[in-house]
Symmetry: C2
Subunit: 166 residues, 2 copies
DNA sequence: TTCTTAATTAGAATCATTCTAATTATTGAC
DNA sequence: GTCAATAATTAGAATGATTCTAATTAAGAA
């Protein structure tokens, strides 16, 4: 049994436990979608998750991808990330972090937070009680190789076409 | 001439100048939409701006409201505020601030920032250059009177109906 | 004016997401 | 294992915010 199998097994076990904790069942589709998410640290949209999932399991449906992503969010294994009004992205890094959006390539990167998110210099009015804080940063990633994603629209479309014509 | 007229006049002048600065023309629709936005400190959606605008100018169209809000954003008089995937809201407070979203009533409130947004304790990776940071807080506003907006969906719908049946 | 260009408008189109209703899979009791 | 009960999957329809289109109207320059 390879390291990879070990990793997948541990992943599946964690998934099954978390799902059970929320009264949800483990299924092969859910395992596969979760694995697809964990395979890359980018923050794919539902559509991208669908395409990647379909590459190995050609029978999976978009509806199931949406349902599964929902289930993963409900049981605390995945977070939704929204950038403007674009399609929701999914993040499976459950550490406390914030997001960087590259306006050049459209990529989203995780940024670790130094201190706890609590001790940020914000004075909360007395009549408002905070439950959660979200920080997002936008800018450009000046990676010499060019960024993770190509120039947003064209790049995403090209990627989609190439997967469809397989 | 009343104080109110003075205020409106100054508002219109600022608007005209800002529009001109972006190569855009001043129109009565734009003046009216801008005035509607400045009349309340809440963060209305395009649809809400449309309803409020139509209350006084029944001939204005939704398309114009969208176009105008766009123009106002382009010339730096208004900012867009996104909460999850819900309809975009519009904010005409141009000071540096962040947003509080009440999960109970759906209202959005401004929160002043103590220090400059620059000295927040975040270590940026070398290959990422930040241009802008957004902070949003979610929680509940425990106002004894109840919050600005009623319980989200029902409240918004009721408000819409009441305006339509005038 | 009159010409040119921009703004407004109604309605169609788009696109991510949610919903519906039918089918299939999983679970637990027997 | 059999069999109901319940949950998950699925295709496709519906939704809703926004954008686009193409026609009309208004504004500014000459
Ligand atoms: Mn992330
Ligand atoms: Mn604001
Ligand atoms: Zn980039
Ligand atoms: Zn509230």
């Amino acid at each position: 049994m390879s390291d990879r199998d070990h990793a997948s097994e541990a992943e599946a076990t964690e998934l099954a436990e978390r799902l059970a904790g929320s009264g949800l069942r483990m299924t092969s589709q859910r395992e596969h979608v979760f694995h697809v998410l964990r395979a890359q640290t980018d923050h794919p949209t539902a559509d991208e998750v669908y395409m990647r999932s379909k590459a190995e399991r050609s029978d999976i449906s978009m509806a199931t991808v949406y349902n599964t992503l929902d289930a993963l969010v409900k049981c605390g294994l995945v977070k939704q990330v929204n950038v403007d009004r674009a399609a929701t992205r999914y993040c499976c890094n459950m550490q406390d972090h914030c997001h960087f959006y590259c306006e050049e390539c459209g990529g989203v990167h995780d940024i670790e937070l130094s201190g706890g998110i609590r001790d940020f210099p914000i004075r909360m009015p007395r009549d408002l009680s905070a439950r959660q804080m979200d920080i997002s940063i936008r800018g450009a990633c000046r990676d010499p190789k060019g960024c993770a994603r190509k120039t947003l629209k064209e790049g995403v479309k090209a990627q989609k076409d190439s997967l469809e014509n397989e």
